[in-house]
């Protein structure tokens, strides 16, 4: 009994390590895009990734064939959405780093752009995950795309200030 449990734990550790080795790079890049930090200096993105992967580790035995990457991504997105309004909201809080590609967007726009375009989550799934109507996700994604491709002069500083009223 004890040996079987030990071998199960070893197998579980091996599987989880392989999963982290495969998924951590992409998820860390997504998290860095979300927090709009510089690629070399991303403590908040690392913290976000650590917490969501630790959550995945804790429910690894109860996944029942569900995709662990999907689970980690969901947790990452909801944690960011929950934390965004007080971490990135007011004045004097974390400013987007100017070298980040998504620095011109608000946290909500970054979240939706990363989910829809970088991770390729379907519109309905992203909407259900964030608790928004699908039309709203569509609109925000379009607006964020437009802001990224044609950065407005003079408005970039103010648009990065706060969460868009939803």
């Amino acid at each position: 009994m004890r040996e079987r449990r030990a071998s199960q734990a070893a197998r579980r550790a091996r599987e989880f390590e392989a999963f982290v080795a495969g998924a951590a790079g992409r998820l860390l890049h997504a998290a860095t895009l979300l927090t709009a930090e510089a690629p070399g200096d991303n403590p908040r993105a690392r913290r976000l990734l650590t917490l969501s992967l630790a959550h995945t580790y804790a429910c690894w035995d109860r996944l029942r064939g569900e995709d662990p990457y999907d689970r980690a991504r969901q947790h990452l997105a909801t944690r960011f959405a929950r934390a965004a309004w007080h971490q990135y909201g007011g004045l004097g809080r974390a400013r987007p780093h100017p070298t980040s590609p998504l620095a011109a967007l608000t946290p909500q726009e970054r979240l939706i752009v990363v989910l829809r375009l970088y991770e390729g989550v379907a519109e309905e799934q992203a909407a259900a995950l964030l608790g928004l109507p699908a039309d709203r996700v569509h609109t925000i994604c379009d607006r964020a795309t437009a802001t990224l491709l044609h950065p407005p002069q003079g408005r970039a500083a103010t648009s990065a200030m706060g969460v868009a009223p939803s």
């Binding site: 951590a24 890049h29 070399g40 959550h55 580790y57 804790a58 590609p101 375009l117 795309t145």
Partner: protein
């Protein structure tokens, strides 16, 4: 520029800077995740213990108080001798 082209352009903007994964990340994840697991196990054990203690307490109370036995009447005298 139509929608697929715009989306592809945004994807290209986002793909350009890969961040290196720090090597100590895995140990930190396992530490935190293991702590969560241990906490959950402790909470589950505590709840089972509470449930067992409640069952034992109820059984002891039921055996001493015998609530199913009809209590002797207090208001009318026992009906005897007719």
């Amino acid at each position: 520029m139509n929608r697929p082209e715009r989306e592809a352009a945004v994807r290209r903007i986002m793909e350009q800077v890969p961040a290196p994964v720090p090597p100590e990340l895995y140990a930190e994840i396992v530490r935190r995740g293991g702590r969560t697991l241990r906490r959950r196990a402790a909470a589950r054990r505590l709840l089972w213990l509470l449930l067992a203690a409640a069952c034992v307490a109820f059984a002891v109370w039921a055996l001493t108080a015998r609530p199913w036995v009809e209590p002797p009447s207090q208001t009318t005298p026992p009906l005897t001798g007719w």
